[in-house]
Symmetry: D2
Subunit: 280 residues, 4 copies
């Protein structure tokens, strides 16, 4: 059954819950789940409301909110659930892509995988077994700009809502990111902010940590510093080699990215400055 | 600063959020945190609302809700935070009591410990070091009824809101429990419903489980079957003896009971049939 | 690089470590990892020794141990790593099979998947995309015995070391299990011994637990009562419907079964009565 | 019952297990638990052996090992268990001290708390309730050197094996640390190496992490960079204020420090360069 989903972000003020829920009620929509949060630092109010039924046109509902909340308010209204379109960028590692494609195949990803782009070609056969287009864009003998331009041209054909960096081991330029603002999701193989940057498992090994982890986050121009969506750690011990950390870590990376994608696909994530608000 | 806390449980119907938040708004109270949940099985609506300020008399506010929601509605309004009074029942194990008394001593329990009652006397000296009255009520040479009567007489002096069974190893009669309905909290040393009843660690050892855990729950006449508030497990392995399980388990028991007490002290727990709704 | 793996189980006695490590040293093998455990209840000694190099013939080494340890000792010697052959039994759920086939495709399962047998056919296309034979054996219009006979005939062609029940929702008869003693691994969707048997998520929902989990175990004739290899739980709350528990639980089931298969594939698991000894 | 504990660290070479276990066997000691590890980076071998009985004099046994292993080997032999003496340094926070003193009171710490030293006096009454001496050494109106000298003079009276920094919020000088090399244990309120230094919860809040944690480590002159003994994280979300992170974090700090102390008290921890080897 399709419901109606309402997402609102606006400056906080007295009486917002009654104002907003009143508008919903006057449209004869029944609230199934309503979550709200006030970020006191930014004085912003965030709410996510699932309503049963779709008897009001989204544009009508949106207008009703905008009229009351003013032009500063961000309002999104639409049917729910509603699959997002994602494009996946990969390098050589298979595990995050594998999880995504298997879930997609069985219709439980909550998102439509439109294509996979790799800067290596090792995942071509795997991807195509799932009848998903795979594009190999080599980084060799071309500038970073040329590489990114080539990737963007492929992506443009598909008009994805989100780019998922499923162990894509290249740093994207600010110019590239500006094309998908707040719409690029990365999985980093450490519990950020620890071990931002290259070789986190090697550095975890050298530091002798007793935990390793993974972080899914939105990508911003500053490396591994964007808003965090989900994180998890697992226990390791002194017997772990770097290779064993990589192997154990892959399970966590897969789980964390999968969790983040589900949250984003279900519109449970707001971005507020450099943080996320996740209505779980 | 003192806020106002509103707890409501009532039959679910269309428009409850707008109705309730409207009443709050008309009383000039600003919502700090509002959480709601509909239990579709029982068709009950639950909400917990923290409002800043205390400018409305609780009874006035309560009447406003009752007028609108009808006599079936459960409504509680009061200042927040507001320490609950608890009495702790123990046998011989120190760890849960220790955690409670240390937190109480430093004013972070969120509850007032009025007394400790033990069916053994081994925790007397420890309790008194914290200037808390300790009562030893032996079970020897008396009926269960006589024992419980003696305990009740002590408790009556203190009028506690909740009884906390901090590893109290006696089963309380339905008659006793009827005196504190939904107000007795127990910590059981297993992840219920596994290993309900006696000797859970011994049985966990014999079963060869790879996890042990603890469960905090409200006590009902059926043994270890009341509404669960909080649970946690930890990993063990084949090298654990029963004694090592007990030792490792005590840390979890302490953590889980502590968590449950905090949730109850802050009125974050509703009971709905044999389940809890926990607004974390 | 191939090493030599030595697995020994024998009655415990004084000096076993020096005796066994002496034999290893006399064969000019260097111990990479040695783990040992004494089960005091059964008075059995267990050891797992990885040695670098393969300069001694396995049979020679095995004879050396048997000569010293006596006929009661179980001794296995062989190259390491050495892929086990597994057959996977499924019903309709995709997630455990998906994880196994993806890992197998990329050569990181540590086991060779020889075939998949399903009592439904919904996973046929998925399995074949990985170039693995899929056999559909319906249970309809035939006795349980006839069904199992049909499955056994298929399995006989492949001579698997282990059968993996990857959400195979049929109970296997003692006669069937006797054909693969200690060689059938199941994933059960609860933290056993809680919710053994059918519909664990439904029962977890009804009980109002705050944790759900999964258990990988060897299958014995008594339902869900065999030696546990691995278990894990995750936190849930009152907002979870049964369907949401199923969805969240699938991630745990996948992780736990994957972990158990890796441990078994690497010969890190001994069975001792109704328990496992897992040298992690 | 008292056993014999043997700790050995020496350069790795072929046949060490048989050599060492042979010496144990010739002394008529039966191995209860033997754990060993080779750090391939440093080519060092580490072993921890618990033997039943104490029929050999520790010095005789130690000499037997030194004769065979050479002067480079570190060898320690002694009765087991054998309580370590610890001194606890605190500032204002009660929670880690509380856990230590309660466990000490009930004889389960595995260590003897000889005194508590605070640079503030707020924990005086609490400590004395447990009949443990408390020394208040103010940092005001004196140099860091003078402060540390005063602390050292107090500690000298007690001759502790380990100093435990139970939320001691001063940085100790290299000169101070040189007096207790590898014998100062700190609890840091983050999952190091994330948020080393001051105000980790504030910085965790600003970074928007979804996990917070704690790390117990040996103290070296470089701040928060010494060998890690134990770490743990817990999940948080966007609703946590800094104060709520502090509160939730305290539970983890307590658990992690408690775990580290137990491991150290039982001689389960070796230091190897900037890492620990923990035989759990």
């Amino acid at each position: 059954m399709t419901n109606t989903l309402i997402l609102i972000q606006c400056p906080d003020k007295l009486g917002l819950v009654v104002l907003i829920s009143g508008i919903v009620a006057r449209q004869q929509l029944n609230i199934v789940v309503m979550r709200e949060f006030v970020d006191h630092d930014s004085a912003q109010f965030f709410t996510r409301i699932e309503c049963s039924g779709t008897n009001t046109h989204p544009e009508t509902l949106k207008k009703a909110f905008k009229d009351q909340l003013g032009p500063e308010a961000f309002v999104r209204v639409g049917p729910y659930p509603s699959d997002k379109r994602i494009a996946v960028l990969v390098t050589k590692e298979y595990h995050c892509l594998g999880d995504i494609l298997v879930k997609h195949f069985f219709g439980v990803l909550g998102a439509e995988v439109c294509c996979v782009v790799g800067n290596h070609d090792v995942l071509t056969s795997f991807t195509r077994r799932f009848s998903i287009p795979f594009y190999h864009v080599s980084t060799e003998e071309k500038s970073k700009q040329a590489f990114e331009e080539e990737v963007l041209q492929i992506l443009n054909q598909y008009n994805p809502d989100y780019l998922v960096l499923a162990k894509f081991m290249r740093i994207l330029s600010p110019e590239f990111l500006a094309r998908y603002p707040n719409r690029v999701i990365n999985i980093h193989h450490s519990f950020l902010p620890a071990f931002a940057g290259a070789h986190p498992y090697r550095r975890a090994f050298e530091r002798g940590v007793k935990l390793i982890g993974a972080t899914a986050h939105f990508v911003t121009p500053e490396l591994d510093a964007g808003p965090i969506i989900s994180q998890q750690t697992i226990k390791i011990d002194h017997t772990y080699t770097v290779a064993q950390m990589v192997e154990a870590g892959q399970e966590v990376e897969k789980t964390v990215l999968s969790r983040a994608l589900k949250l984003v696909a279900r519109d449970q994530v707001f971005i507020s400055g450099n943080k996320t608000i996740v209505f779980e």
